[in-house]
Amino acid sequence: MHYSIAPMHIPDGFLSVFVSILMWIASILVVSYALRRVKADLDERQAPLMGVLAAAIFAGQMLNFVVAGGTSGHLMGAAIATILLGPWAATLVMTTVVGVQALIFQDGGLLALGANIFNMAVIGVTVAYFTYQTVQRLAGGKRWGIFVGGFLAAWLSIEIAALATGLELALSGTSPANIAIPAMGGIHAIIGIGEGLITVGALALIYATRPDLLHASEGPQKTEKLAILVGLLLALLLAIASPLASARPDGLEWVAEQKGFLEAAQSPLYQIIPDYAFPGISHQAAATILAGILGTLFVFGVALLVAYTRRKRQSPGS
């Protein structure tokens, strides 16, 4: 079995601390609101349902099919979770999936987890929900609405989440905006087709066997004006920011501003230290060499310690 890594999960080191913390705050806000909504809307059978469905989405990501040559398409699951559970529960399910991927499989970083949750659990689910709802309404309850809506929801959720990932990388100064955003968008426009096809296949089977499950997300839950507004704003922000960011090859002025802001924020910290650095490390090369020696000694010391404790543990037995 191979566990394929989608290039959507940002590892640690690729986002600036500023962007990471901003995304953590945004994710925490949305997830805690989703928790409140799920508790209020749904009965207590939700915990097992969400847990098992999260496990199914995780396991379902192992399902793949040959596209061409060595490449294969596989499932991410934000759209299908949204269609089966409705937006709030789906947000929690995707948060759990992304969280376990980071904590256990290092698929995505821990500091970057806030951003990854936001991209897949918040943006992915929001986009899938509004797309599916809109197509459903246009179809007026006809069968094709489920499939067309499912395909579009899956494709768009991947695509928009990928654009958001590219935007975050660009804002962090990790990848030039005019490369990151088109590259992420381009790759995922193709990956999204696989996602869309699998989602439609899954919906077709569920429609044939348990059609009642497909009405869960429509039922008594009414779309609120607030949610629609937030979704619209989000889409607008992305739609404006992405091309704007990619149109500026010299990196966003925004980043420069933000960098200046960060340096300004850090400057009091620097001033604690007197104007001259510590004696002996005034030269950076000297400090690097010193660090190398210290580090080696440190690792060597720990290795000795491990060897020593092992010998001590073995000696009583022998």
């Binding site: 640690d12 207590e44 398409g73 970083g109 100064g173 990790t174 490369i179 089977l205 230290i273």
Partner: protein, 272 residues
């Protein structure tokens, strides 16, 4: 077929294994945060951070080679930062022609690229050590201790409990498909049907996986209710942290803070 290999936990009785999951989680996140906050180009600090995590790997007895192999997972993503070498302004290192483009590598660009790659590599090692030395139920206790909402923690717990069951289920579905020649992993063999057909088959498998999962969750819910579940997942209060754990936590955080200061001083010194 059982998919225990999904669980990255490695049984051992090392100092790192014995450390309580709560300080371990906090220290891992603090380590990654320190790495992220270290200014680009502070090589001395990167070396010390690497030495620190290598030392912890040695202490944990899970095998340095294992961690290093696993840490290669994040490598493909480094490509995303690669263009920085050519797009950041600064003193030119070298330049070459690629078709119609002339690419010029700059020193600050290269520095930033190498820094990002190093940060990523060092951080992922900390995450690997955390996952390999801490059983997941202990991580759940740690999550509760750092105030992750209860409902979310119980979703995590239920997901972990059934992940292996559903992964087995998925493997059975895939074996059935392979037995019917719908899929082949060997490159020489042409997979059956058209692309849309293959996608539809896989979609059907995903659909039946979800239907089975939802039906299973109904049965699980019934079983929970019959054992007194009322919507609230209760857990025994987590044991108090011993003095040793507190001391290790404090020392670890102090060392990380020192390293961070060292990095800031270095950068400050090189600017003036």
């Amino acid at each position: 077929m059982h998919v225990h290999f999904l669980d990255p936990y490695i049984q051992a009785d090392s100092l790192v294994h014995r450390l309580d999951a709560r300080p371990k989680l906090v220290l891992a996140i603090a380590f990654i945060l320190t790495t992220a906050l270290t200014p680009n180009g502070a090589w001395a600090v990167f070396i010390l951070l690497l030495a620190l995590i290598l030392a912890v790997e040695l202490l944990s007895e899970i095998g340095v080679v294992y961690v290093l192999k696993r840490s290669m997972l994040a490598i493909p993503f480094v490509l995303a930062a690669f263009p920085l070498i050519f797009t950041v302004d600064g003193p030119a290192l070298f330049s070459f022609n690629l078709g119609a483009w002339e690419l010029t590598a700059s020193q600050p660009g290269l520095e930033r690229f190498v820094s990002i790659a190093l940060k990523s590599w060092i951080s992922v090692q900390a995450a690997i050590v955390l996952a390999s030395t801490t059983p997941f139920p202990d991580l759940l206790v740690a999550m509760r201790a750092v105030k992750v909402p209860r409902l979310l923690v119980s979703i995590f717990a239920l997901m972990w409990r059934y992940l292996f069951v559903l992964a087995d289920e998925t493997l059975r579905l895939m074996r059935a498909r392979a037995a019917r020649s719908g899929h082949s992993d060997s490159p020489g063999l042409k997979p059956g049907g058209s692309l849309a057909w293959r996608a539809q088959v896989t979609g059907g498998m995903a659909g039946s996986l979800f239907v089975r999962a939802i039906e299973r969750s109904d049965r699980i819910y019934m079983a929970m209710v019959s054992r007194g579940y009322d919507g609230e997942v209760r857990a025994a209060p987590s044991p108090r942290l011993g003095a040793t754990n507190w001391i290790i936590l404090a020392c670890g955080l102090a060392v990380l803070l020192l390293l961070l200061m060292f990095g800031l001083i270095l950068t400050y010194a090189s600017l003036h």
